[in-house]
Symmetry: C2
Subunit: 350 residues, 2 copies
DNA sequence: GTGAAAGCGCTAACAG
DNA sequence: CTGTTAGCGCTTTCAC
């Protein structure tokens, strides 16, 4: 009966209609105490009838709280839109934001120019209550700039510069070590690796895990068995071709991502070799596609959505309880044994 | 030398330091005329030195403009995080937002409860200058609610209810028709289809294109050759198994997405049939993976990033020049002929 | 060309 | 329990 949605209603209007003051309406709106039940209901009634919606900007300005979180993807994270891992991460983040009633703003830094345009928006007061930023490459200073900003920040992935920043990560070293150990326990001894980009901590850590496992056997690291990849299918394919040049001395590969393992297996198939008989594979991610391939991937499952969810929880903790001390959250992984490592085959046959 | 980043500086502080009034600083900040060049530079100098950043909430409140766009994914769009098409779309949207200096807020409606939580946030005054919403399924009323809100809205995909809402889409009917015509021109005549969900316009339209192509030949539509899919790999696999029950009468399939074609080809391989010799395929999307398969996909390329970019442009147009008349943007597609349709093979052999 | 003053719509002391 | 009163930090007339 009264004017409807978004007709520019204000608290004042609602107050007048309900015959109370602005403060009372504000109290009702924010579920605060000290309002008679009868009045509270009268006010709600008016709010409902008028379709009144509080103005977000005014609320933010007055309360110094925007209920908005920023998700920043640095320029150096080029795989954000191609690596299937990220959608899962984003999903978890979005879900947590919904649950905790935050809005999620998305800052994709595509170019150097973008960075200069975006940074002011991100660091602006009154815009964001906190920031989630994906760890990128060495030399990408965006994260450091963000941290200096004094807005609560949680880094997704281990940051390069050991600062007092909060971050959330998985234990890439242990997980990779375990993956390679599995290969060893399957009887493989000439194990190569296709690493992630070595200018990222995730690439570095997974390589470190590989080396750790070999060293634990007392084996010496053969640099020729290490090829740097880029987390893409094509990168895995190319890297495998490198590795195959020394075939005969290679019976297994640890790939730092499922996508690279898929590319690598394509290269293996092309030269007429068999997976897992000739070359066994263990990789990382456990993408949905892992079980749909001809040879189902033995791979390290890392939390995707849960990871994002937890990152948001951590950030909200910083917002509500202060940024010090820095939080360090390490989430667990799990080795999923399937076909590509040859373990199941063996136990079936043997 | 003066205090730095985010120390709670205000326009007032800057004005004082520069020896001018707030109005002048505001003019400088917003590149407005009527400021002496000398003064302008003095003010910029202070801004730079102090690291002052204007408060976004205050600015939004005073100017009634948030420079923020919302991207809403309705509950019924469950494939958002699994279909590789969406990342490309999002990328284009994010890029356009950067270029036009808008911030992108992301609303993922996961559950019915989410919808009730999110709707007020989205429709709230002072929060969003405009909304991009992905078209969902029939019966999903979110879009209609959003349109009623009077905030400028652009629907991504053709909406179900023919309202005066603005939308952007590709010509799914023509594109699908062309795809099936190609199959016909390759000499196939027993053509089945794995459709998208038939409660979505995109599913409906691609099926309509399939039927149009057959009808144009004077052929009668065989309902037994139509199986509904869900745009996923597994859905394609299952649908193909249905179709294969009538094999011998089937020499080609039009799949409404690449992912479904991949699943379908898996099913074909499992029963020992050959692609494209026994069954030819044409699909839709042209995902990056299309060229990495054993049989490279013949598929309809639809704009991904460009689509998102254009959606943002359209929305900004609505914001700046009014929502009437409604804009209808239809983007082009292109049939990419590769291996799965058998055309190349044939021309090589013949 | 510049400044004063009045809001934008809300929250949050502080009285009562 | 409720209302009054200040702001939050900026934009935007309107004088000068």
């Amino acid at each position: 009966m009264w004017s409807n949605l978004l007709s520019g209603q204000t608290l004042e209007d609602v107050a007048k209609r309900a015959g109370v003051s602005r403060s009372t309406v504000s109290r009702v709106l924010n579920d605060m105490p000290h309002v008679r039940e009868e009045v509270r209901e009268r006010v709600w009634e008016v709010i409902r009838k008028t379709g009144y919606q509080p103005n977000a900007a005014a609320r933010t300005l007055a309360s110094q709280r925007s209920w908005t979180l920023g998700l920043v993807i640095p320029r150096s994270v080029s795989s954000f839109f191609t690596d299937p891992f990220f959608p899962r991460l984003t999903q978890g983040i979005a879900q947590a934001c919904n649950e905790f009633n935050y809005t999620l703003s998305f800052f994709l830094v595509g170019t150097k120019k973008d960075e200069e345009m975006i940074f002011p928006r991100v660091s602006r007061q009154g815009m964001l209550d906190g920031i989630l930023v994906q760890a990128g490459q060495t030399g990408d200073l965006l994260i450091d700039r963000l941290v200096e900003t004094n807005v609560p920040v949680v880094i997704i992935g281990r940051p390069h510069s050991p600062s007092e920043a909060s971050y959330i990560d998985i234990d890439n070293i242990s997980a990779s070590c375990q993956a390679v150990e599995h290969l060893i326990s399957c009887g493989r001894s000439q194990i190569g690796t296709i690493s992630g980009p070595l200018n990222s901590t995730v690439g570095l850590d997974r390589l470190a895990g590989y080396e750790k496992a070999l060293s634990a056997q007392g084996w010496v690291i053969d640099e020729g068995l290490i090829v740097e990849g880029d987390f893409t299918e094509v990168g895995g394919y190319t890297a495998m071709q490198q590795l195959l040049k020394r075939k005969g001395k290679l019976d297994a590969v640890f790939a730092a991502s499922d996508l690279m393992a898929i590319g690598a297996m394509r290269a293996v198939r092309e030269v007429g070799l068999e997976v897992p008989d000739d070359i066994a594979f263990v990789s990382f991610d456990d993408l949905p596609i892992a079980t749909l391939l001809e040879h189902r991937l033995t791979t390290v499952r890392q939390p995707g959505a849960e990871f994002g969810y937890r990152a948001v929880e951590t950030l909200i903790d910083l917002i509500e309880h202060g940024t010090k001390p820095a939080r360090r959250v390490i989430m667990g992984t799990e080795l999923i044994v399937r076909d590509t490592c040859g373990a199941l085959q063996k136990s079936t046959a043997g």
